[in-house]
Amino acid sequence: MELLQGTLDMLVLRTLLHGPLHGYGIAASIRGASREALEIEFGSLYPALKRLEAKGWIAASWETSEHHRRARYYRLTPPGRKRLVEERSRWAGFVNAVALVMDPLPKAKT
């Protein structure tokens, strides 16, 4: 399933709420959480990480993974947390609005 425009940032922030992850870990986590429904291209995830980092919502540092590999771990910053709350309520509003239009399904005439 393709991602809706502009939801990637929100997904990344939400994923990092559990704790720091490296770039590939984020992609894998989103994929897992969505039960493989959301296909996250690393090619588009990586620029998004850089964008969020530039905005100061996430921060990165080099750390060693559980498999003793060095990787760059991203974690949520306080402004990022605030942002996540905003994005979340905006998303909820959007879902509600779409639901109002779409539900209840008109009964198909037979």
């Binding site: 770039g23 590939y24 690393f42 990586y46 620029p47 850089k50 905005k55 990787a71 760059r72």
Partner: protein
């Protein structure tokens, strides 16, 4: 935060670190997840760099570097493009500098935009000055103008040391707050003090920087004495070099408080007390927050109040404020139309050059097609390709502007010589400054958009699959050449318009210039003297002139002499206010201001001005005899149509002024310009109308120029204080007025036509050469199956001539539409003669044939075997 991050990224060290980190990070992730899993990392990195925000800057630098590399490989294209643009941009900049000097340049004061001109409008004169009492009242009553300055231009006899002979210089009589109001501070010394406005104050002067350089090259002028019209002044200050006065064409040398006017000019009454003397130019600075409209409303009310209070002097006068530009346009409508026409011509040349370049770029697109196709196919966006192509165009345009500045400089040097030899010299001030550079850049940018955008769009739109396959340009061949054909047709049409406009202009001038002068120019020399400025009373001035006339008459080498208030075509012409008897003036007007002046009895015979009816003045027309006048034919025609002017009466100055009887009619001549339309002129006898300044005209038995020194000496022997100026042969004056300065216009307009022609021809040649190069194979086949050389030549020629024919037809249509505009902008000049049309059309056809012949011959000379082997 964001901005800071971006700015940090500008530092190369930081960029390197960030780049390294990114690579390390992706490397480590690749080890964790496997490279396949991560997908296209190059793209990801590229997009990540874009996030840092300066990628566009990088890509622009890359574009520029790439553009330079591409252009460096195509020297002939660059040379042709830069030269055509340089010609066009240079012509535009030169004409702009001319327009700037004539009309556009703001006053050399601080905040020129809020300094407004305040003047009267009367039924007789759209732009009349104010009197000093009116100026004073205005200053007291106006709230919308925060500062008001008044000044009047005059000429004085100036001597920087007592031993030197006095020279005539432009001086400005200024109100005491003048420099403060216009915001110009002296570069040395001080401004006038309020107390120095009084006539009783010690005379002080502020001098211009040019005058300081001439007369005090190695010492400070402050405190030095200066004799002006015989009065000793102390120099109090010097204006900065950038201050060239408030009038165009005049570079004032000396500034004097208005309070000195009466003493300086030796007037019997104080001109500052006379409400009827409307001769002050007034400038006002708009108070903060006041709109010009509300200032205008206030001024109109003040003007109406003054008219009610002083009906005698202020009846029918309306007070108005104008921007400086509006004043100049009103002052010299003729210049406006000249400038408009020249600007129009150079704009056409620019369009021709641009379409030329567009055509070159379209041709280049064919060779670039493959390169562009590759770029598109590996993922470059079309907008990116357009940007790349536009970068190249912009570089070419800027190079054109840079070279164009040299062309402009040449034009400016030529225009700079446009002046009339006069004492003091007139000052045009056409010069190269940052305004011209800015204008050139603007033109370059504008033309870059014109010539670059269409080809760039065209190229980027190309179907790259087929381009890659065929190695061609990708666009359908027919459409491509249609655009190019249209461009060439447009070029020829515009070139035709430029040539015909230039031709009409030149033919019109030629008609006037080949007319013989309507007065004697050979063997005569003229000399201006101003005895009045050294405080001669009117009686002594008369005595001086009588003495001078008597002595010159018997001078060796002099065959005759005359005196006149002004001689024809001299840049300063005297005027008269007259009321012709029986003439019904339009409502609100009661008198006419016409050219005219005092002449003595010898004038008509010495200057060879024909009297067509009645008689010339004689020595019997004395101050005690009946007042008489002579009018020219145009005056009689204007004011007494179909009537006999002899015996009619003219009142002088006002409807109640003295009346003079017309005793003769003189032939209409040219008074201000050789190209003027016939103007009314009134001659009055000098003895009845003595003037403070007269021009002496001596008729030489031999060489007129050799009389110069003896004449100067003669004046000195009568009164060493009297300044002599404008001493020159009438032939010199006529030359400079009638041909001299117009010669530069000839050259200018001529070179514009030439540039237009060259550019259009290059365009045609380029297109034909291109077509030939594309049809090499076809010509080879034709030759192989037996086409004669002549047939091939004709084949190519036919195409060139078809395009030229279409261009000429379009040009004729265009010119027919534009001709009324041209004629309207130059009444009496736009001689639209069929000869010009036919000549230009034939010339264009011939040149087009020649331009096509070169590639045609090349096509015919092709070796069929070699031609078939190409491609």
């Amino acid at each position: 935060m964001m901005l800071w991050n971006r700015l940090k990224y500008l530092s190369p060290a930081r960029r390197r670190r960030q780049e390294r980190e990114m690579r390390e990070e992706l490397e480590s992730l690749a080890q964790i997840a496997g490279r396949r899993e991560l997908g296209n990392l190059t793209l990801a990195m590229e997009e990540a760099r874009a996030v840092w925000g300066w990628a566009w800057l990088d890509s622009i630098f890359a574009d520029i570097r790439y553009a330079f590399r591409t252009l460096a490989r195509q020297t002939s294209f660059v040379a042709v493009a830069v030269v055509s643009l340089a010609l066009a941009i240079g012509a535009n900049s030169a004409i702009f500098s001319f327009a700037d000097a004539l009309l556009l340049r703001p006053l050399p004061v601080s905040h020129p935009a809020d300094l407004y001109d305040v003047s009267y409008t009367t039924p007789d004169n759209a732009l009349e000055g104010m009197s000093f009492p009116d100026f004073r009242d205005l200053g007291e009553q106006s709230r919308s103008l925060s500062d008001l300055a008044a000044y009047r231009l005059t000429q004085v006899a100036a001597a920087s040391n007592p031993a030197a002979p006095a020279q005539i210089r432009f001086a400005v009589l200024v109100s005491s707050n003048f420099f403060h109001a216009i915001g110009v501070a002296p570069s040395a010394g001080r401004d006038f003090l309020p107390s120095e406005a009084s006539p009783a104050a010690a005379p002080v002067a502020i001098i211009g920087d040019a005058y300081r350089r001439q007369n005090y090259p190695d010492r400070s002028p402050i405190g030095a004495t200066l004799r002006l019209n015989g009065i000793v002044f102390t120099v109090a200050g010097v204006t900065p070099p950038s201050f060239t006065g408030l009038d165009r064409f005049v570079l004032p040398s000396i500034f004097i408080p208005l309070g000195m006017a009466q003493q300086l000019e030796g007037e019997p009454s104080d001109p500052l007390a006379d409400r009827g003397r409307h001769d002050l130019v007034v400038k006002g600075r708009l108070a903060a927050g006041v709109s010009p409209a509300s200032a205008q409303a206030e001024l109109a009310a003040i003007g109406a109040g003054l008219a009610r209070q002083y009906p005698e002097t202020n009846r029918n006068r309306r007070l108005a404020i104008r921007t400086e530009l509006a004043r100049r346009v009103r002052q010299s409508p003729r210049l406006v139309s000249l400038v408009r026409m020249l600007m129009g011509l150079v704009a056409l040349i620019l369009i021709i050059a641009c379409s030329n370049l567009a055509n070159l770029l379209l041709a280049r697109a064919r060779t670039r097609g493959r390169e562009i196709a590759i770029r598109l196919s590996i993922g470059a966006s079309r907008s990116r390709v357009v940007r790349q192509l536009m970068t190249e165009s912009l570089i070419v345009a800027l190079a054109g502007a840079a070279v164009g500045l040299f062309v402009a400089y040449g034009g400016i040097l030529l225009l700079g010589t446009l002046s009339v030899p006069s004492d003091p010299p007139s000052f045009l001030g056409v010069e190269m400054d940052w305004r011209i550079v800015g204008f050139s850049l603007l033109v370059a940018l504008g033309s870059c958009l014109c010539f670059g955008l269409i080809p760039a769009w065209h190229t980027a739109r190309a179907d790259f699959a087929s381009a890659l396959k065929s190695g061609g340009d990708g666009a359908s061949g027919k459409r491509r050449t249609l655009v190019r054909d249209l461009l060439v047709v447009a070029q020829i049409a515009l070139a035709m318009l430029v040539l015909i406009a230039a031709g009409m202009f030149l033919a019109g001038f030629r008609n006037m210039l080949v007319q013989p002068p309507d007065f004697r120019t050979d063997h005569v020399i003229s000399m201006d003297t101003a005895p009045a400025v050294v405080h001669h009373t009117p009686a002594r001035t008369r005595a001086f002139y009588r003495q001078l006339a008597d002595r010159v008459r018997v001078m060796p080498g002099v065959a005759g002499m005359a005196m006149a208030e002004s001689i024809p075509l001299s840049p300063s012409q005297s005027i008269l206010t007259v009321v012709p008897e029986g003439y019904q003036f339009p409502k609100g007007r009661e008198k006419a201001v016409v050219l005219g002046g005092s002449v003595d009895a010898g004038y008509f015979s010495t200057m060879n001005v024909a009297i067509v009816r009645g008689r010339a003045f004689t020595d019997a027309d004395r101050d005690t005899s009946r007042r008489v006048a002579i009018v020219n034919q145009q005056f009689a025609k204007t004011y007494w149509p179909n009537q006999d002017p002899i015996g009619k009466r003219i009142r002088l100055d006002s409807p109640t002024g003295p009346s003079a009887e017309v005793v003769g009619v003189a032939q209409t001549g040219h008074y201000l310009q050789v190209y003027e339309s016939p103007a009314p002129y009134v001659y009055l006898p000098y003895e009845q109308n003595p003037r403070p300044r007269m021009t002496l005209i001596a008729l030489a038995a031999g060489d007129a120029a050799s009389l110069a020194a003896p004449l100067r000496e003669m004046v000195r022997s009568i009164d060493g204080q009297v300044p002599v100026y404008n001493l020159r042969t009438v032939a010199t004056l006529y030359e400079s007025r009638a041909t001299g300065s117009w010669l530069q216009f000839f050259q200018m307009v001529g070179s514009m036509g030439f540039i237009g022609l060259v550019l259009a021809t290059t365009g045609l040649y380029g297109l034909i050469a291109y077509t030939v190069s594309r049809r090499v194979k076809e010509f080879g086949i034709r030759a192989a199956i037996g086409a004669r050389r002549r047939d091939v030549v004709w084949l190519v020629e036919r195409r060139g001539l078809t395009l030229a024919g279409a261009g000429i037809a379009a040009g004729a249509l265009l010119t027919a539409l534009a001709a009324p505009l041209l004629a309207a902008s130059f009444p009496g000049l736009g001689v639209s003669s069929a000869a010009v049309y036919i000549l230009v059309a034939l010339a264009l056809l011939a040149i087009s044939a020649a331009a096509s012949y070169v590639p045609a011959r090349r096509a015919a000379a092709l070796d069929p075997l070699r031609a078939l082997r190409t491609e």
